[in-house]
Subunit: 231 residues, 2 copies
């Protein structure tokens, strides 16, 4: 005697796209760590076991969400300037796309294989570098370096904007002053003894201050300058 007959809901049928989209939406609001197979399955109105029809495991699902996050990144065109301007634009778009989805960049740094959209961006990255007259070996390593830069910058920017988000709620829900990374880091620096950490103390306002976009643009410029200096 089964508990109750399996009533197939008249809702939209399950699909990989719907699952991945739901996963990314959950990442947006909860962060990667808090996204569980159960929560995803609830979001698409089914049970956890059903997800495994479409996805081998949680890691693969996160990788798909990661790839979806950069799906809308448009490749620069000739109208956007020379190879360097286009390269900077492409990288900036990738960072922005990733940072718009919370934690998701962590997936790219834990050894997930690149999906089709990331490959598309990588291909264009390499093409632009090569068209800039950089040697093949340097192109390969530069792409690696820029990939590292994109992921870590996206993460940093995401934390910065997460801090801003939690600051805009002026104490509504949380009396416990849920101050996010930037604030805690600044407080830590300020609490350091000046005799042991003189340089950190001297530069504290500069270390945590500054607009995220400006920092990112500066870092990327440094990186490309370095590439050109070596060529």
């Amino acid at each position: 005697m089964p508990a109750r007959p399996r009533t197939r809901s008249a809702k939209t049928t399950l699909s990989l796209d719907a699952i991945v989209a739901a996963t990314l939406a959950l990442v947006d609001e909860l962060g990667c760590e808090a996204v569980s197979m159960r929560r995803v399955s609830q979001a698409v109105q089914t049970g956890p076991a059903s997800l495994y029809v479409y996805v081998p495991d949680r890691g693969a699902l996160m990788a798909l969400a990661h790839d979806l996050a950069v799906a809308d990144v448009r490749l620069p065109t000739e109208a956007d300037g020379d190879w360097r301007a286009r390269l900077e634009l492409l990288v900036d778009r990738a960072v922005t796309a990733l940072a718009a989805h919370n934690d998701i960049a962590t997936v790219g740094m834990t050894g997930a294989l690149p999906g089709p959209h990331i490959l598309r961006i990588t291909e264009e990255l390499l093409r632009l570098l090569r068209s800039g007259g950089i040697s093949d070996a340097a192109c390969a390593w530069a792409a690696d370096l820029i990939g590292q830069y994109i992921a870590s910058s996206a993460l940093e920017e995401a934390m910065w904007s997460r801090a801003r988000r939690s600051q805009e709620r002026p104490g509504g829900s949380s009396a416990e002053a849920e101050e996010a990374f930037a604030g805690r880091l600044d407080a830590l620096y300020r609490s350091l003894p000046a005799e042991r950490y003189p340089t950190i103390r001297a530069l504290t306002p500069l270390l945590t201050g500054g607009d995220g976009a400006t920092r990112a643009a500066w870092k990327l410029r440094v990186l490309i300058d370095g590439l050109l200096a070596g060529a």
Copy 2:
């Protein structure tokens, strides 16, 4: 009537140092994700609840292990050359120290606050940059950039050497060909259609090949070149 009287073992008493050391050792052999409070507690011969006397939560424990990983990094001296040589040496030592402990660099990228040893390295990093005549604002952002570089390079190198480790066992325990990141990535690149990804295909041997240390040194040189080009 308690089940059995609490027999305090005559072993070494619990201590924070022992717990953190055990944690780092477990990270070394299992990776960060697989290190649980229960496994750590087993390693120090106690129960999971006992750890919370010394540590507020798992994240803090991992942060302590992360800091311990760079505890032995020695700061370069005047005998090591000018500021640039010393900077490169310091960064290299930090990367090597982190990469020697598997995954642990991930902790530094998920928003953990820096511990004392990381602060010590950061202080010296800033000092060296400043002594190189770089402006204060550039020093602050450069330290950030170099920090990102250290973490991501350590992660990459750790995966590279994990691949090597699993390759050195010539099929002993695993018939399922547990080929790690580098190999899978290379296979992926080789399987791409050449008409859609011509540049990736053209550069495939260069993308996955190369010695880890050489790559790291090259990338760091590019970075510092870029810093100097902007000054």
